[in-house]
Amino acid sequence: MSVMFILIGCSFLLAIGFLAAFIWSVKSGQMDDDYTPSVRILFDDVKESTTKTEEK
C-alpha cells in the first residue's frame, strides 16, 4: 500500500501545476477580456511585434 504515498504525491504535483497555470492566466490578463482574443485570432499575422502580447 505504500505506493499510495507516491500516488498522492504525484496527484498533488499535477494539481498544483494546474493551480499555477490558473494563477498565471489571471496574472497575464486572460480573465480581463474574454471577447477580443476570439476576434483577434482571425486576423492575419503580418508583423511579429504586434502579435506578441505584452504582460505586466
Binding site: A15, V26, M31, D32, Y35, T36, V39, R40, E54
Partner: protein, 750 residues
C-alpha cells in the same frame, strides 16, 4: 484602405482642437508610462462596435509608423496604444484616430483622477485557490466517509487529516479573508451583517477541525469549510457582473472638454478648462462645448443644450446674451467672455450640493441585512443555549454541541440566495437594455412607491417632431416664396420649414423683419409674406391643440394654412403611465420648460398638483428631497445634466438615453429609450425577484433546521455537514436562478 468600417464621420474636428495634447502636464496625466523610447496610453473609444473596428484599431501601426502596438479591449471599448514618443506624438495619434472615425473620449475626468485598473483579479485568485483546495480535500476525505480506511487499519487517516489541514490553511487565510474583514468592520460600527455568522462559522469550523486532527479525535470539517468558502466566492463573483462600457458615475467633468482656446492679446492659446478665469475671452468652434457661463461677444450662436435639458432644438443667442455652460455650438465660430469659473457655473454648481457630497447608499435596508441581524442573534442564543444545556447534563458534549451549531447554521445558502437572485435579475434586465449599476439596486427598485419624470427628452422624443402643412395645397411658387422668406431667419422653426419645403432655388428678399416669439414678415418678388403665430397673422383659431406648434402662412393678406410641428411623446407613454397608476405608484412630472404643455400632460398625469413646470436643476433636486422627507421612496426618471441632481438624490435614479454609449448623467440605472414602454414590467419584475429571495430564504432555513436538529443533540457528524452544505447551496442557487429567469419570461422580458 477602408478607413472606417461601419462608422460615419459626422463631425470632423479640426486638428488644432487637440493642441492641448502637446502640453506636457496634460500628457503626464494621460500617459500610463513614459520613457525616451516608449509611451503607453489607454483611450476610451465609444465608436468601437464591431470586429472590423478591432481589426482597424489594432493595425494602427500601418497608418502611423510611430505606433508600436495597439491592443483593443472590446468589452470595455478601450484601446491601449504603445508608441515611440520620438517618432510620433500623442496629438498625432488622437488626430489620426478621430480622422478614421474613432475619436477617443478624453474628458476633464480623465485628468483629475487616473482611471484605476479595477481589481477583480484578487477574487479570481481566491476562487482558484479555494476551488483547488476544496477539490483535493474532498478527494482525500472520501476514504474516511466510506469507511475504506478500516481496511488499512488507519494508516492513512492521520496523514490525510494533516494533508487536509495544510490544504485548508490557504483557504482560511487567503480565500476567506474578506469575510473576516467585513465582519470586523461591521462589528466595529455596531452593525451585524451576514458576514458575522459566516465569519464565525468559518472560524469555528477551522479551529475545531484543526483541534480534532491534531489531537487525533477525528478528521474535522475541512471539506465543508473549503466548500463553503468556495461557494460563497462563486456567489460573490456572480454578483460582480458589471456593464463595463457604461459609466454610472459620470458628472459634468466627464462631459466637459479638457482644454479650450483662449484669445489673449490677439494670440490663441490652449488653456486647460480648470485654469479658466473670469474675463477670459474664449473661442468656441463648431461642435465644441461651452465650458463655463459666458457672455457672447461675437458670432452667431446656435447652442444645442441637448445634454443639459434633453431638448435637441438648438437655441439662438444674440450678442451680449449670457450662455450657460454645457451647450454645444452648432455653426460658425463664436467668441465669448467667461463670467464664471467652470466649477461655479449655473449647471456645475449643482454638484456642490450636499446630495453629491454624501454617498447616499440609501436608507432602505436590504432583506439580507434585516434578516441577518435577527439570524445572528438567534444563532448565538441557540449555540450558547445548547452549550449550557449540555454543561448541566453531559459536560463532555457541550463544546461539541456549541461548535456544531455554529458550523451547521453558517448561513451559506442564505448568503447565496441574494447574489444569485439579484445577479440573475440584473442580467435579465440588462438583456432588455435596462442596465443596472449594482445588484443591490434591483432590490431597491422593488421598494419604490413614487416615480418622478422629467419631461423633455424623457417623456418626449427629442428630434423626432413631425412636420406637416395643413390647408390649401401650396403651389410651387408659394412654396418658393415661403422658403425664401424663412431662409432669412435662423429660428429653429424657420430652419425646419425650410428643410421641409426642399426648395433649391431661392428668390431675393426685398425686406425682412423678425419679431422675437411672434413671427417673420418679408417682401419677396412683390408678395407680402407673413409667417408666425395665430395672433401675429390674425387668424382666429377654434381648435386648440396644445401638443403641436403651429406656424400660420399668409401671402398677400390671404391665409393659406399652417405648418404643424408636433411634439411627439414616447411610444406607449399612456400605457406606461396607466399601468403604473394601476400598480399604485405616485407619479409626478417635473419640467424645466414653461407650462404650455400643462393641458396635454394632464391627460396623463390627471392631477395638476402633480405637475411642476419652470423647474431649475436645483428645484428638481429639492423636489425629490421634499418627497423623501414625506417618507416616499422615489425613482427619478430623467435624461439630461439638469436632472443630475434629482437623479442623484432619488433613491433610484434612472437615466433614459437614446444611445447607451453616449453621455448620460450619474445614475443607478441606464435605460435605453427604446425600451421605455417596458418600465412597468421592469418594476414588477424587481418585486418578483424580491419574492424569489424570500422563497429561497425559507428553503435555506429548512436546511438549517435539519442540520441544527443534529447539532443541538451533539451528534453532528462531518459526513452530514459535508452532504448538507453543498446540497443546500446548490439547490438554493438552482432555485433562485431558475425561478428568476422564469419570472422574467413570464413578465414579458426577453
Amino acid at each position: 484602405m477602408e478607413n472606417a468600417p461601419g462608422a460615419t464621420q459626422k463631425n470632423p474636428v479640426l486638428p488644432s482642437a487637440y493642441d492641448y495634447l502637446l502640453d506636457e502636464k496634460v500628457q503626464n496625466q494621460l500617459l500610463q508610462y513614459k520613457d525616451a523610447q516608449l509611451a503607453k496610453v489607454t483611450f476610451f473609444i465609444p465608436a468601437m462596435h464591431c470586429s472590423s473596428c478591432i481589426w482597424l484599431l489594432e493595425h494602427l501601426y500601418k497608418l502611423n509608423a510611430g505606433v508600436l502596438q495597439a491592443k483593443v479591449n472590446f468589452l470595455k471599448k478601450e484601446l491601449q496604444v504603445n508608441y515611440n514618443p520620438q517618432a510620433t506624438s500623442l496629438k498625432d495619434i488622437v488626430v489620426l484616430l478621430s480622422s478614421i472615425g474613432y475619436e477617443p473620449a478624453i474628458s476633464l475626468n480623465d485628468l483629475e483622477k487616473r482611471v484605476k485598473k479595477d481589481d477583480n483579479r484578487k477574487l479570481s485568485y481566491q476562487i482558484g485557490v479555494a476551488g483547488f483546495c476544496f477539490g483535493n480535500i474532498m478527494l482525500i476525505s472520501f476514504p474516511e466517509y466510506f469507511g475504506l480506511d478500516s481496511f488499512t487499519q488507519g494508516t492513512f487517516s492521520k496523514l490525510f487529516g494533516y494533508i487536509n489541514l495544510i490544504l485548508s490553511i490557504p483557504v482560511f487565510l487567503f480565500s476567506a479573508q474578506d469575510y473576516f474583514k467585513a465582519a470586523w468592520t461591521g462589528i466595529k460600527k455596531r452593525y451585524i451583517s451576514i458576514d458575522v455568522p459566516l465569519a464565525l462559522g468559518i472560524l469555528v469550523m477551522f479551529a475545531r477541525s484543526t483541534y480534532e486532527v491534531v489531537s487525533g479525535n477525528g478528521i474535522g470539517w475541512f471539506d465543508t469549510h473549503a466548500g463553503l468558502v468556495f461557494f460563497l466566492l462563486i456567489g460573490k463573483w456572480f454578483q460582480q457582473k458589471t456593464f463595463d462600457t457604461l459609466s454610472f458615475e459620470r458628472d459634468y467633468k466627464s462631459y466637459f472638454p479638457v482644454a479650450v482656446t483662449v484669445i489673449k492679446e490677439n494670440e490663441e492659446l490652449t488653456v486647460p478648462v480648470t485654469a479658466l478665469t473670469i474675463g477670459d475671452r474664449i473661442k468656441i468652434r463648431n461642435n465644441e462645448l461651452i465650458p463655463a457661463d459666458a457672455i457672447l461677444l461675437r458670432g452667431d450662436a446656435r447652442v444645442d443644450f441637448s445634454f443639459v435639458t434633453g431638448e435637441s432644438e438648438p437655441v439662438e443667442k444674440i450678442i451680449g446674451e449670457m450662455i450657460y455652460a454645457g451647450g454645444r455650438q452648432k455653426g460658425a465660430t463664436i467668441e465669448l467672455e467667461v463670467c464664471k469659473k467652470v466649477s461655479q457655473s449655473y449647471l456645475t454648481q449643482l454638484w456642490n450640493n450636499d446630495a453629491f457630497a454624501k454617498d447616499n447608499q440609501s436608507s432602505i435596508q436590504s432583506f439580507q441585512q434585516t434578516v441577518s441581524k435577527y439570524f445572528t442573534i438567534a444563532l448565538l442564543l441557540l449555540a450558547f443555549g445548547s452549550a449550557a444545556w449540555w454543561l448541566v447534563f453531559n459536560p463532555s458534549l457541550a463544546m461539541n454541541a456549541f461548535t456544531a451549531v455554529l458550523i451547521i447554521a453558517c448561513p451559506c445558502a442564505l448568503a447565496l440566495s441574494s447574489p444569485f437572485a439579484l445577479g440573475t435579475a440584473m442580467r435579465m434586465l440588462g438583456r432588455n437594455k435596462f442596465y443596472i449599476k449594482s445588484p443591490a439596486v434591483v432590490e431597491q427598485l422593488a421598494h419604490m412607491d413614487t416615480l418622478v419624470f422629467d419631461k423633455t427628452g424623457t417623456l418626449t422624443q427629442p428630434s423626432a417632431s413631425a412636420i406637416q402643412f395643413l390647408g390649401n395645397e401650396l403651389t410651387e411658387q408659394q412654396a418658393q416664396l415661403i422658403a425664401s422668406a424663412v431662409s432669412q431667419s435662423i429660428h429653429p422653426l424657420s430652419q425646419k420649414i425650410k428643410t421641409f419645403l426642399r426648395i433649391g432655388q431661392l428668390l431675393e428678399v426685398d425686406t425682412f423683419t423678425e419679431q422675437t416669439g411672434k413671427g417673420i414678415e418679408a417682401k419677396v418678388n412683390g408678395y407680402d409674406i407673413k409667417l408666425g403665430s395665430a395672433v401675429f397673422v390674425d387668424v382666429l383659431t377654434s381648435t386648440q391643440n396644445n401638443l403641436a406648434t403651429r406656424v400660420y402662412v399668409k401671402i398677400n393678406g390671404v391665409v393659406l394654412g399652417y405648418f404643424e410641428m408636433e411634439q411627439t411623446y414616447r411610444k406607449g407613454l399612456s400605457t406606461v403611465i396607466g399601468e403604473l397608476t394601476e400598480a399604485h405608484y405616485n407619479q409626478y412630472l417635473l419640467s424645466g420648460d414653461n407650462d404650455k404643455e400643462r393641458a396635454a400632460m394632464s391627460a396623463y398625469f390627471g392631477n395638476h398638483n402633480n405637475m411642476h413646470f419652470n423647474q431649475s436643476p436645483a428645484d428638481k433636486l429639492h423636489f425629490i428631497q421634499t418627497l423623501q422627507q414625506q417618507k416616499q421612496h422615489v425613482i427619478m426618471v430623467g435624461d439630461g445634466l439638469n436632472d443630475a441632481g434629482a437623479l442623484k438624490a432619488a433613491h433610484v435614479g434612472i437615466s433614459v438615453t437614446e444611445n447607451t454609449s453616449h453621455f448620460s448623467p450619474a445614475s443607478d440605472v441606464i435605460m435605453d429609450a427604446a425600451e421605455f414602454e417596458k418600465l412597468p414590467q421592469f418594476l414588477q419584475f424587481s418585486k418578483r425577484t424580491l419574492n424569489v429571495i424570500h422563497g429561497s430564504f425559507v428553503i435555506s432555513l429548512l436546511y438549517n433546521l435539519v442540520g441544527l436538529s443534529f447539532a443541538v443533540q451533539g451528534n453532528l457528524s462531518p459526513l452530514i455537514a459535508a452532504v448538507l452544505m453543498p446540497v443546500s447551496s446548490v439547490s438554493v442557487i438552482a432555485f433562485t436562478t431558475i425561478s428568476t429567469t422564469y419570472l422574467a419570461k413570464k413578465g414579458g422580458l426577453q
